[in-house]
Each structure stands twice: as C-alpha cells, then as structure tokens.
Point group: C2
Chain length 241, copies 2
C-alpha cells in the first residue's frame, strides 16, 4: 500500500491536494488512476484509507475514506547530529526516521567544515522514510545551530546521551539501565570528533549521560544508527513486545 | 595514522609490498615519502608501526618496524544477508566491518531479484572499513548461496538470530538475554521480506532465534545495522567496559 504524508487535515469532508512531486509519483511512477486506493497521514489525524479523486496535468486530489489507524507518536527523542558529509548526513536522517526519532537537530561544531546544508532536502528525505517505515508522523529537521548555544540553552529535563569516543564512558546499555523514559536526546559528533574543549563543556552539562559504543572507531552515520537503536532498545519502543 | 591491510606476514625481516591501489593512495593522495610512518595489519600478526622504504612508479614497499598491538579477534559473528540493491548492500558490508562481524555471507532468497554481485568490490569495501575502524582483521565476504542450501547445512551449534518482520517474535534484547556467547549468526532478509515458506523453514531450524526489531518497517540496511548493534550490545564487545 502506498503511503503519503500530507499537510492538510484528514477527514471525509474534503479531498486533499498532494504536492506536484507526489502527483507525479502517483500518476507516472505507480500509474494510479481515479478510484485507486492509497494511505494518507499528516502527523495529527492518524492514517486514512483514501481514493484518488482526480489525477491529471493540473495535479491530483485524494479523498480520505476511512480512518484505519488512530494517531500515535513515538518517544520524545531528539537526534542532535553534527554536520557531516552530505551522503552520510542523508543516511542519518533516513535512519532517524526509520528508528523513530522525533526531531533531527543539526549542529555546527569546531571540527565541522560546513555551517549550512540543504535542510529542505533533508526534510524531504525524512518524509519519504517516514512514508516507507509506517510511522504516523515525520521527524522535523531543524536548521544548523552552533553547539555552544545549544549547550547554553539545554533544558535540564532532557537527558543527553553523549556518544563519547574519546573516553572512559560506560557501555550504552549499562549507562541507560534504570533511566526514566520521557524526553531524551542523543548527541553525535563530526567525523573528527569533538574538540577537547567541547567534550569538557558537554560533560559539564548536568543532563549529559556519556556512553561508549564499543572498541572500534565508528563513522558518524554508524554511531548515529547504533545510538538510536540502543536507546530505543533500552528505553523506547524497540523493547516493547 | 594511516592503517593498511596487507596479505604478507609482518615481521622485521622483510619489507612488505602493498597493492598498486594502496601505493597510489600513499604516494598521490596522502603524499607520503620514504621514511614516513603508517600502520599495517594482516589479520594474523597484530598491528605494526612501519615506514615507507621505497615509493615510486614501480610500486611501494613498507618496512615493519615494531609491533604496537597484539593480534585480537572479535566475536565469531556471521552476518547472513540477502542480496539487496547495490548501494544498500555496500552500506551493509561497511557497517558489518565497523560493528565487528567476522564474516558477511550473501544469500539468494525467493524475493531477491539478483543471484550475483561483485563480491570482490564488496570485499574491498570491507577492507577499507576495517582499516578505518581500527580492527585487526577484515570480515570475509562470501559468494552468494541459496537460502535453502544454507539452511540444510546449518551447523546446530551456531544460533541464528532471525530478524522476523512478519511476526510475533520477542524484542531482540529480550530474546538474547541469558544466551551464551560463542558462534552466532544474524539473518537479514531482502526488501520484500522472506516468503511464507522461507519463514517456516527458518523457524523450523533448531538454531533459529526469532527476534523483533520494533514497530516500524526497516529497510534491509537499517535492519542489518540495528541487529549487529543489538547483538554486540547483548553478547559481544559493545557491552564490554
């Protein structure tokens, strides 16, 4: 079943207009016609069975028919990740969507060699991954912010799992054992790691929970995916039967 | 420090010839000259500090100077993975090297639409990832085999963690709790999943340990990385302090 994320409200009162890209996908890639079925979600109204109401050169309208899943949201989990090379950053965003992060917050550190990225493109990747993975919301990708400012404003009630390559941190599952669910964040550094001053600043944060990810050096995308997996298995929905 | 995997024995008696690709990398990319240092490993003799002995158009020789790490091997962990699209298969092999699998065994299933792949290219990716991740061996990538034959010959002493999307399997950490270390394997299906007959055959295997990977549908590469991470955290070296 094709699943599309839309911005409009979903109810039986009105057909929903999809984007030109979605219309192209439905008409030309999947070759849907009027009356064919698909699923819609918008992050608020659950998942709906819907039918193509019109399709043509001037766009495509889809009529919601019946709500098939109530809206749910996953854990309140932010992935805070340094700007890394484009291909690996795109992988990270895709996997964050598949592994149930609620937000991807981009961060500029001393050893990142970029201070901007195509956030709109990353957001589109998050949408596509959310459509495929079956979740009912889409992780928000936020524009890059500087690490210092992020740490200065860090909310004390949101523990920050800090994947600390340099260190003596306990293994992730041991560090997370017995911790509460609720708001959390994961912090992944750039390929060159955090600077010593940055490490000190992060570790000084009361919310910081340093963890180790094993004896090998992990690329940033591997570290992000491993951290998401371990957090979800320890405190999130990968541990639910 | 540059790390290179070589096939020759490592000792102080003889210089080691590197491949033409490695010579190009040392001379033209990293611009090393005679006397510059790098590290060598071969999967048997530990890690060696070495010096460039000669470098030029006819190749490059590197002289081992001193052993800096004793040989170690990680867990006896096979990743058995269906042939999926090339880019995702390459990601899987890279991540298997970073996350400490000892072998990557390719498998052809009913829903894979390929029965061959460039194994030499995948092996080269495994070498490069092993060089970067700091391990002292390289996972072997084996040529594709049919799932039915693989199951028929399955060694009873090697538990097979079966990532079962379709099912009612317990979460991975719960399924692995209390299990022994020793030889293990992880089985990851193709994008379209295993067929019902294949699922039945896998589950009928006495060695099979079905596990779930959470409420979302994961792409094959995400499932492979998550499975490697969870196994290493439960029974492997991601749980060692």
């Amino acid at each position: 079943m094709i699943r599309l994320f839309v911005l409009d409200d979903l109810d039986t009162n009105a057909a929903v207009a999809v984007t030109p890209e979605q219309a192209h996908y439905l008409a030309n890639v999947m070759r849907l016609g009027v009356g064919d079925e698909l699923a819609l979600f918008n992050g608020r109204d659950g998942e709906w069975r819907a039918r193509v109401a019109s399709i043509g050169k001037r766009g495509c309208a889809v009529q919601p028919v019946e709500r098939t899943r109530e809206q749910t949201v996953g854990p309140d989990l932010d992935l805070v990740v340094a700007l890394v090379k484009r291909a690996r950053l795109e992988t990270i965003v895709e996997k964050a969507a598949e592994l149930g992060a609620r937000r991807v917050r981009l961060v500029v550190t001393e050893r990142t060699n970029a201070d901007h990225t195509r956030v709109d493109r990353l957001q589109a990747i998050a949408v596509e991954a959310a459509e495929q993975t079956g979740r009912l919301d889409v992780p928000a990708v936020t524009a890059p912010a500087k690490l210092a400012g992020l740490l200065a404003d860090w909310p004390p009630g949101r523990p920050l799992m800090f994947c600390d390559e340099a260190g003596d941190a306990p293994p992730a599952l041991a560090a997370l054992a017995g911790r509460g669910r609720g708001p959390w964040a994961l912090l992944i550094g750039p390929e060159g790691g955090f600077s010593p001053a940055e490490r000190t600043a992060i570790r000084a944060l009361p919310a910081a929970v340093p963890v180790g990810l094993g004896p090998r050096i992990l690329r940033a995308d591997t570290a992000a995916i491993a951290a998401l997996t371990l957090w979800q298995a320890a405190l999130g929905d990968l541990s639910d039967a």
